[in-house]
Structures are given as structure tokens and as C-alpha cells.
């Protein structure tokens, strides 16, 4: 088939698909993921490897986060696409947040600042009784008229799922009419307690409907699956003759069509990108870098070496590693002395949380525990070399480790006992709970800041500022009250966690 003929193929007709059905399997089933565990890091690694990882449910829970949020976060930042949320208006609660991320990121990348393209079908009571596929059809046409997008994503909701809306038939008809790819995203909130399923759902839609077979190969381009951080990847890759292609936020549809052309796919967080990277490798032969992402000295060395091997750049990599390590050595030593003996705690998602743990240990902190938001027993590629928890705690398997899908009440109880000097937080609205204990809480904004060798120094500078004057935390501890009973604060922190299923 000629290139032109390939381009004119209808968008649904990609015969090579990881999933035959349109939706992605939830993480609990696909990756054996859990949201309840307490023990040590070493124990968790062992149990997961042995295939014996079992969920522990909580009787009392605080509100979590859902797949819809995660899916929309990625898709709403594709600059020439539109997202239609087929849901009542409340599911659009995160639209303003995405819009702010959008405008901010546009400013940083010198793009025109303009609103994110987001619609809701605003389902009401009548719709739940009589169905609302007509509304969806109307919304698709409205989106097309208003924005002339290159693609449309239709995100499902609890409501659309429960009332059994047939998104696919609406979408099929609209695609025929409009001639652009329209993808459903099966991110109904109730389907998974592991909100990372939302990323899988978004990436599944991109794989199904957007990515095309490669017209050419670009062996020196590395796809980096990430969020919205600054491009510090260039710092690591350009010196060895490679170029990062940061995806998915702030890309355009055409850039995503060409994901298959890259020389390899790497991760800023392997929990985020597992489904997409594995899909690109399976369907288009783009190899996935399976080593944990390049945070911390050991992981950066390992990652760079694997990247170099896969892309034929091994000759360049050793001198580069040596030079970079030397460049930061003196400053790193200063920071290690400064932070020696300071206790740190990490409350974040897996992979990136593990990366944070490694970085903090490199900087001399004494890691006293973690609460990680879920645990994947394996990643989509299935290779144990990708076990970021094992990599981060190989020297500290006895590290106290908990898995909880946020659950501030557990975190607060635990931190009151541990009294760390610093807590790294990676989910909105948790930092306040920590700060009210008088403990400095750092909400890590730019997720790339600690990347690589120089990132250790950048990160250390930021931490120094944060720890120098915790007046705000001390004030909050003095003047506010946490909403927990004395009874709860005297219970063991994980006493609401049930037995393994």
C-alpha cells in the first residue's frame, strides 16, 4: 500500500491492536495492582514477584481520585484535539485545573495562550432515563464546528457507564461524517480504585485511533512519556546524540501519529507510561526502556546505559556519565552533609514516588517511610528489570512502606508518630494535612526537576529553601485543627485496613 493510500485509510481500520475490544483492562486485573498494604519495601517486592500480591480493603475511606481525572489530564493538553466528557456537569470539576495547566504550559513553551478545548454533555435526570446518545452526537458536531480539531476524545463517566450508553455507534457514525479520528475513553470512575487506569485508558485511545504505522524511522528520537515538566531530558540525551520527544501534553495530533517512528520509548514515570510504551513496542517495534527512570545516581547510570545500548550510542555514554558525576560531586557532598540526619517521608504514586525515594537517599536524607498511592505487581512489559521499588530500596529493603490511595487520615496518624523533617507530596490537596502537623510539606511541582545528575543539585536547592523557614507550617499547626478524633489518633495508623483478600 502506498503512503498516500495509508494516509487515506479510515481511522478505525488499524488491524494490529493490543486489545481487540475498545476498552483497556483495569489495573487491578491487568497488572495485579492494589491499594492497601503495610509492611516493608522488601516484603512488598517479594510478594509481588511471587505473584501473591493481594488487595487489602479499608472499611473507612476518604475520597480518592478516579480514572476520568487522569485520562482527561493527559488528553486535554493535546493542543489541537477536543475532549468531550459524556457525564453530568460535576465530572467537569477538573476542567478549570486543566485549563490553568494548559495556559501556564503554553506560556512556558511560547505558544499562544488560549483556553483548553473542553465540553461536557451535562447529563440530567431525563438523560439517565431515556439515554443521551443524541446529545453526544450533537456535542461532537458542536466541537467540530467550533474548533476544527484534528481529533476528538469522548471520555466516559460513571453515569454513562451505568446507564449503558453506546458510545461506539455514535462515534462510528460521526467519524464517517467528519473524517477525523474520534476515540472513546473507557475511564468510568467506578471501574477502578487505581486511578492510574485512567492514563491507560487515554493511551489506549491514542494507540487505537491516533498512532499510525511509521513512514520513516527516527532512531535518534526518544519518546518520553511524561506530564508537563520542563525539558531537562535534553540535558541527558543531547550530549549522547539523542533527542527527546516529550509526550502527550502540549503535543499535536500529528506528533502523536508519529510516535511509532521513534528509536525508543522511555519514561519519566513507568507507572504513567507502561501501557503506551508496551503498546508501541508490540505494535510498531519501538523498544521500551525498561530500567526505572533516571532519578538518582544509580538509576540514571543504569537508564543511560540502556538507552545507549538500544540506540547504538554506547561509545558516548561512559565518558558522559563520568563527566556529569564529576561535575556535581563537590556540591552533592555539601548537600549530603547539610541534610545528614534529616528525616524524610514520601507520599506519592509508584515509580515516581520510588524515584523520589532514591533521590532523597542520594542527598543524605534518612528515609523513615513512604505512603505510595497504589502498587503494580508488574508492568505491561512484564520484565522484573523495571521494578522501580526494588531499584530504589535495594540497599534499604527494611524501609517501612505503606500503600494507600491517599487516605489522609492514615497519613496524618502515621506522620504524627514519625515526625519527619520533610514530606514530599505528589497529589493535590494532601500537603495541607501534612502542614497542619507542623511538618514541612513539599508539593513537587515540576516532576522533572530532580532528573539526572544536575537535577540532584536543583532539587537540593529547592529543598533548602523550603526547609529554611517553615513559618507557615508552624502557624498552621498552632492555629488550625485537624478533623480527626482523639480516638483515631491513638489507634495504629493502618487499623482500618482489612485482611488480604
Amino acid at each position: 500500500m502506498s503512503v498516500e493510500q495509508q494516509i487515506r485509510q479510515p481511522f478505525t481500520a488499524n488491524p494490529v491492536r493490543a486489545n481487540r475490544g475498545t476498552g483497556v483492562q483495569i489495573r487491578e486485573r491487568r497488572l495485579g495492582s492494589i491499594t492497601g498494604f503495610v509492611g516493608t519495601a522488601g516484603e512488598l517486592v517479594q510478594i509481588a514477584r511471587a505473584g501473591e500480591l493481594a488487595e487489602r480493603e479499608r472499611s473507612f475511606t476518604q475520597a480518592g481520585t478516579c480514572s476520568s481525572f487522569c485520562a482527561t489530564l493527559q488528553l486535554s493538553l493535546i493542543q489541537d484535539a477536543v475532549v468531550i466528557n459524556h457525564a453530568p456537569a460535576g465530572c467537569a470539576g477538573d476542567f478549570p485545573m486543566f485549563n490553568l495547566y494548559n495556559r501556564y504550559g503554553q506560556g512556558k513553551r511560547k505558544l499562544t495562550r488560549q483556553n483548553a478545548r473542553l465540553l461536557t454533555t451535562n447529563l440530567n435526570e431525563q438523560d439517565t432515563i431515556f439515554g443521551a446518545t443524541h446529545k453526544l452526537a450533537e456535542a461532537i458536531h458542536k466541537a467540530y464546528r467550533t474548533f476544527q480539531p484534528k481529533a476528538i476524545f469522548v471520555t466516559a463517566s460513571c453515569t454513562s457507564g451505568i446507564i449503558g450508553e453506546d458510545l461506539e455507534s455514535v462515534i462510528e457514525e460521526a467519524e464517517q461524517e467528519l473524517g477525523i479520528p474520534i476515540a472513546s475513553v473507557n475511564c468510568e470512575g467506578f471501574r477502578s480504585q487505581v486511578w492510574a487506569t485512567g492514563w491507560d485508558a487515554a493511551y489506549n485511545s491514542i494507540l487505537r485511533k491516533i498512532v499510525r504505522p511509521p513512514h520513516q524511522k527516527l532512531p535518534e528520537t526518544i519518546n518520553i512519556i511524561t506530564f508537563i515538566g520542563e525539558d531537562y531530558f535534553s540535558e541527558l540525551l543531547q550530549p549522547i546524540g539523542l533527542k527527546p520527544n516529550l509526550v502527550v501534553p502540549f503535543t499535536g495530533v500529528e506528533q502523536l501519529e508519529r510516535l511509532s517512528e521513534a528509536g525508543a520509548t522511555a519514561h519519566m514515570c513507568s507507572t504513567l507510561g507502561t501501557f503506551l510504551a508496551a503498546g508501541l513496542e508490540r505494535e510498531y517495534g519501538v523498544p521500551e526502556i525498561k530500567s526505572p527512570p533516571p532519578y538518582g545516581l544509580a538509576s540514571t547510570d543504569r537508564w543511560l546505559r540502556e538507552v545507549a545500548t538500544l540506540t547504538g550510542k554506547s561509545a558516548h555514554v561512559e565518558p558522559f556519565i563520568a563527566a556529569e558525576r564529576a561535575a556535581i560531586a563537590a556540591q552533592l557532598e555539601i548537600f549530603r552533609k547539610r541534610f545528614a540526619g534529616r528525616k524524610a517521608f514520601v507520599a506519592a504514586g509508584p515509580s515516581h514516588g520510588h524515584s523520589s525515594m532514591e533521590v532523597l537517599q542520594n542527598l543524605g536524607f534518612d528515609l523513615v517511610g513512604s505512603c505510595i498511592f497504589h502498587h503494580d505487581a508488574r508492568l505491561d512489559h512484564g520484565d522484573p528489570a523495571g521494578d522501580s521499588l526494588q531499584a530504589a530500596t535495594q540497599h534499604t529493603p527494611g524501609l517501612s512502606y505503606g500503600v494507600c490511595n491517599k487516605q489522609a487520615f492514615e497519613l496524618v496518624n502515621l506522620l504524627r508518630r514519625l515526625q519527619p523533617d520533610l514530606v514530599i507530596v505528589r497529589h493535590p490537596s494532601l500537603a495541607l494535612s501534612v502542614a497542619k502537623l507542623g511538618i514541612p510539606a513539599v508539593f513537587v511541582d515540576d516532576e522533572h526537576i530532580a532528573l539526572g545528575y544536575r537535577g540532584l543539585i536543583r532539587y537540593a536547592c529547592k529543598l533548602t529553601n523550603w526547609l529554611a523557614n517553615p513559618a507557615l507550617e508552624r502557624t498552621l499547626a498552632r492555629t488550625t485543627k485537624l478533623p480527626y478524633t482523639d480516638w483515631w489518633l491513638n489507634q495504629p495508623p493502618f487499623s482500618m485496613l482489612g485482611e488480604p483478600r
Binding site: 489522609a408 488550625t480 478533623p483
Partner: protein
Amino acid sequence: MSTILQHPRHLCALGGQQSVVAIPRAIPILHAGPGCGFKLHTGLGSYNGFQGGCYSGGASLVGSNVGEKEIVFGGEQRLRDVIDGALKVMDGDLYVVLSGCATDLVGDDTENVVAQYRRQGAPIVYAATGGFRGSNLQGHETIVNSIVNQFLTPQEKIPGLVNVWSTVPYYDPFWAGNLTAIQNLLAGLGLRANLLFGPDSDGIDSWCRVPAAELNLVVSSWTGLSTAQLLNERFGTPWLHWPTLPIGAIETSRFLRAVAEAAQVDGQVTQIFLERQEKRYHYYFERAADFFLEFRWDLPSHYVTVTDAFYGSGISRLLSGELGLLPLRHFVSDQPPIEQYQAIQQQFAVLSPELNAPVTFTADGDQIASELRKHPKSSPLILGSAWERDIAAELDGCHLSVTSPMMDRLAANGSYFGYDGALRLIEDIYGMILTAVQ
């Protein structure tokens, strides 16, 4: 009427969760999917004036996080587990269980589960707030009425006590400052405001006091009317409805006279208080007059409101009634009940018929932008949500965010209510314009 919304300005009925967060020491318990609480906190709190989680909101929200199992087999037992836990773990005076889309759709009998706890003496109520039932404004009303119906008992009347039912907490980013302003104004008339939300409220004690009030003051466009009617039925309390946000001397004095009459405040007391306030206001107003007069050439002469009915009508009355600006278009985005439309249109009609501007009821960003594009050379001052920034730039106009979602300002206790509120609004509007042009 539920149309597709581009860049929505309100959220779903479960958004009423924020009204519970706004009651001191009240604990919301969501019986819903795992993402609802967070999304609504983000949209009505965080990215709407950066209003944080405070006591029981944000990451502290209690939720059953229902999954596939509860959808298929029902979630009542899950709910019981979560309520049991909440009563032990969360230190609160009032617990409010709110149902989400998922649990309402599959038919969980949340009401009965909650009633059982209430019969055992727990201070717990239930509100049916499945998202598809309506907007967060409606959710707010449902919750308020549920507390009234399930929790309140008759009390002996307290002279001078006035319940205040005003804008929807969190949805209106200036709700807390507004309540303080109302409290201070009523105090000037010798009345005692019973605030049900915010840091100046006594939480559950204020709610228990509701039946003791001599008057229900509904200072909002349409939310709160059903509550006032309910309270009249149950406790015989009369109510006064004031549907436009009083901003500036003319409107605030008019408002206070009406309140004074309804609450039977002595005429002399009222007069003295109003005169003092007006005098002070006019001192500053006069001070700003040099500016208005000398910059008139360059300042926008026309304005657009893209807000809820309450703010839109109030702002219009200040800008047209006191500052001499001309209205270009009005968009009412809070989806009032259709039977209120005519009254609301009247509230915007401040000037003569030729000068008044049409009022369009819509919450769809696309429709709003299309309508405004019909005035391409207008360079208007647009007062709306942060979504309006793009269209303001397109029309070469100015923009100030005053309503949800307000992603570009931090709201602490600022307020546009009353005499002082007008001075604040004037400062903010012209400060924004001055900064933009320099």
C-alpha cells in the same frame, strides 16, 4: 434545560459537598465513585479562587469510593462501613451523607441507611445529590433543606435574630467575605445575623438556632427561596427575598431599608446608620471621581456580565446606576428555574429601555463567545469567569474574573458586598485595567 456545555460554569448536584465543608465542624460523607469528591473540590474550591480544603474538605473528604462490586451488588454495606468509620475517626458535630450518580442510579437506599444511624442518635442527615439531578446550586439547596427537615426542631423565638441565606459557599468565591459583610451591616441596624456557613458561623449551634429567628433573609437570586418557604411552613418564620447583590450606596441603602422594615427596626436607628455609611462611601467615591472623569476617553464605556443572576444584576446596578457605564450584554450562567427568568430580566433593567442590554440565559462558553463576537469593535469591560479571558482578548477588551470558575485570582475574605464591596470592586476593575495598559 440541560445543554452541552463548553467551558462549564457550574458543576453537579454533588457539588453541594462544598456547602457541608463550609459549615464549621460538619463532615461530608460521599457515597459515590472515587473521583467525585476530588473533582468537585478542584472545580469549586482549588481552581476557583484557590479556596483550600480547610477542615473537612479536599483530601479529608470522606467517601465510599464505590467500585464495580458496589455497582453490581449494591453499596449499602460499604456505606455502613464508611459511616461507622467516620463517626469514630472524624471529629465533627454534624455528618451529612451525600449520594452520587453511581449509587443513585443503582438504587442504593442511602436514605434508610442514614435514617437508621439517626434513630440511634447520631447527628447525621442524608441528601439526594446524585450529580445528574441538577447543578451544584440545586445540590446546595437540597442539602440545606435536608438538614432543615431531618435535623431541626421548633425553638423559642429570639428577638432580633435573622437567618442569612445568601450565595452558595465555594461556588461564589467571595461567599465568606460576603457573609461577614452582611453580618456587619445587620449589626449596624441592631440585628443579629445567624450565619450558617463560614468562619463566623457557630456551626451546628447556628443551625439549631434557625427556627428561633424572627426573619429569614434570602439575599440571593433564587437559591434559598425553597428553604425560606420550608421554614415558614414548619416554624412560621416570615422571609424577605432580596434577589440582587447590593453593591454601592444606592443599592445597599435600599437593601438595608427593606431589611429594617421587615425586621421592624426603629426608623431613627436605620437612618443614622445609613447616613454614616453613605457619607463614608461618598468620601472615597469622590476621591475616585477625578480618575473617572479624566480617563473617561480611554476607559471602557460598555460592560458585559457573564455571571450568575445575583452578581450580574448587582454589578450592573453599580456600574450603570452609579458609574455611568453602559451595558452591552448580560449572560446569566447559573441556570435559574425558568419561572424566574422574567423577574431576573427585570432586575437587570436599570436604565431606560433603549439603553438596557438583552439578558441571555446560558452556561455554554461557545454560545457566549458567539454572541459576543457579534460586537466586534466593542472593546468592552467583561466581568465574568476566567473562561472569558480569551474572548475579552479577541474583542480587545478588558477582563476581571469575579465568578466561578476563577482560576486566576486568590480569594481570601475579599467581598463585593455593600458599601465597602463597591469600593473594592472599583479598585479591582480599574486596577486591572491600569495594569493591563502599562
